[in-house]
């Protein structure tokens, strides 16, 4: 291992100007603006007959508004988690948002005496398209968010990725709830929830490989040459 003084010299010699990251709140707002536009276009492009009626049904509309708020809080917490020393209260707010969203969905699905047979829930084949929409439609958002998060410091990769996946999942779920009429809320709750869970698990599993302390190759090679006495 090279001496610390030589490491400092090398780091200073390879220094390039960097644009300081904007605050997590601003980054989250910018991302949400683009992501909401994308989800709106996706929903309009895929909308089936009868889908427009769902937009005015409070039982569907209210959970989606809560989902958007939960998504914004989760994205903000994700951006804050890659800033060293940032206030951890953003995590608490994200957790409150997720609880409120899941609660709203659960009331929509199970409230007012709604019920469904196990067989009906498992056999709701049209929900497979919703699952595909959440996973495939959410993938570009996950990729975009990962690229933005990699500009920060990967202090807690799994937490960051989980927050990002919750944010994207709740947004994609809005599209999945609006694009076509659903037979019953319970099937949608389990299938959509399952898809979001898959998204969260996949993102959490991939996080240690994507959100890493990455040193630019020329710098690392330069450091190695110096430490080997080749320079």
């Amino acid at each position: 291992m090279m001496e610390t003084d030589r490491l400092i010299e090398q780091l200073a010699a390879n220094l390039e100007p960097v644009e300081p990251l904007r605050s997590p709140g601003r980054r989250a707002a910018a991302f949400m603006l683009g992501a909401t536009l994308y989800v709106a276009l996706l929903t309009l492009a895929l909308a089936r007959p009868g889908a427009a009626d769902r937009g005015v049904d409070p039982a569907v509309l209210v959970p989606q508004l809560v989902a958007l708020a939960a998504s914004l809080l989760a994205v903000r917490a994700a951006f804050a988690s890659v800033v060293p020393g940032h206030d951890r209260s953003t995590l608490v707010w994200a957790a409150i948002g997720v609880v409120a969203w899941v609660g709203a969905l659960a009331v929509g699905a199970f409230g007012f005496g709604a019920s469904a047979e196990h067989a009906a829930v498992l056999g709701a084949r049209h929900e497979i398209w919703c699952v595909a929409l959440i996973l495939a439609g959410g993938a570009p958002l996950v990729a975009a968010l990962a690229a933005l998060l990699r500009r920060g410091a990967p202090l807690r990769p799994i937490t960051t990725a989980t927050l990002a996946a919750v944010a994207v999942g709740s947004l994609a779920n809005v599209a999945a709830c609006f694009w076509t009429p659903h037979a019953d809320g319970i099937s949608a709750f389990f299938w959509h929830g399952g898809a979001i869970l898959v998204l969260v698990l996949a993102c959490a599993a991939g996080a240690p490989f994507v959100l890493t302390w990455r040193v630019a190759r020329p710098l690392a090679t330069g450091l190695a040459r110096t430490s080997n006495g080749a320079v």
Binding site: T4, L11, A153, T212, L219, A224
Partner: protein, 190 residues
């Protein structure tokens, strides 16, 4: 005032200058924070030897370099730095625990430095440079990158992990598999 007792607020100003590309300010900043980082490392890792402490300090400095864009001039510098130090110490402890569980000490240095005839024979068999280059090219992406970074560019495990974006453990596994594949490929060509 010496570099080591630069006030914390001044460190924030130095980091702002470093973000603009001021190498002199950056050098002063890194020289100022190094003793502070070393003190934290020594306090948290009292059992560690001098090389390990140096290793951790340098790890933190590299992380500070990577994360310098995340410093917000409107926030105090010290919590930002300490969050990085704590994170790298925790990572270092996890790495140490994993390495300890997976590796055994090897004291028979004479075997490694060609004391054993088997080693000499194996080395002599890999005499064909072209065959070796072709075999390296044929390796899967991850294994080839591990060999290139560790054996050709001679990076340390930590540096190679930083470049490739994988963990030290994953690199070791990839290198082990790559060497086994190379040995197999070259053996079939003989």
């Amino acid at each position: 005032m010496t570099a080591t007792d630069t006030p914390i607020d001044a460190l924030g100003a130095l980091m702002r200058a470093a973000q603009r590309g001021d190498a002199a300010a950056y050098t002063e900043l890194l020289r100022s924070i190094t003793p502070r980082i070393r003190r934290v490392v020594l306090r948290e890792r009292a059992f560690a030897g001098l090389p390990e402490v140096d290793d951790l300090v340098q790890d933190v400095l590299l992380s500070v370099h990577v994360a310098r864009a995340t410093y917000d001039a409107e926030r105090p510098f010290e919590p930002w730095l300490l969050a990085i130090v704590r994170n790298r110490l925790a990572d270092g402890a996890r790495r140490y625990a994993r390495t300890g569980a997976r590796e055994i000490n090897w004291d028979h240095e004479s075997d490694v430095t060609f004391g054993a005839s088997e080693t000499n024979e194996e080395t002599a068999e890999i005499g064909d440079g072209r065959a070796l280059r072709a075999a390296v090219r044929a390796l899967p992406e991850g294994q080839r990158e591990a060999i290139e970074l560790l054996k050709l560019e001679e990076l340390s495990l930590k540096e190679a992990a930083a470049v490739s974006g994988t963990s030290v453990g994953a690199l070791k596994v990839a290198t082990h598999r790559a060497l086994r594949a190379l040995r197999r490929t070259l053996a079939t060509k003989r």
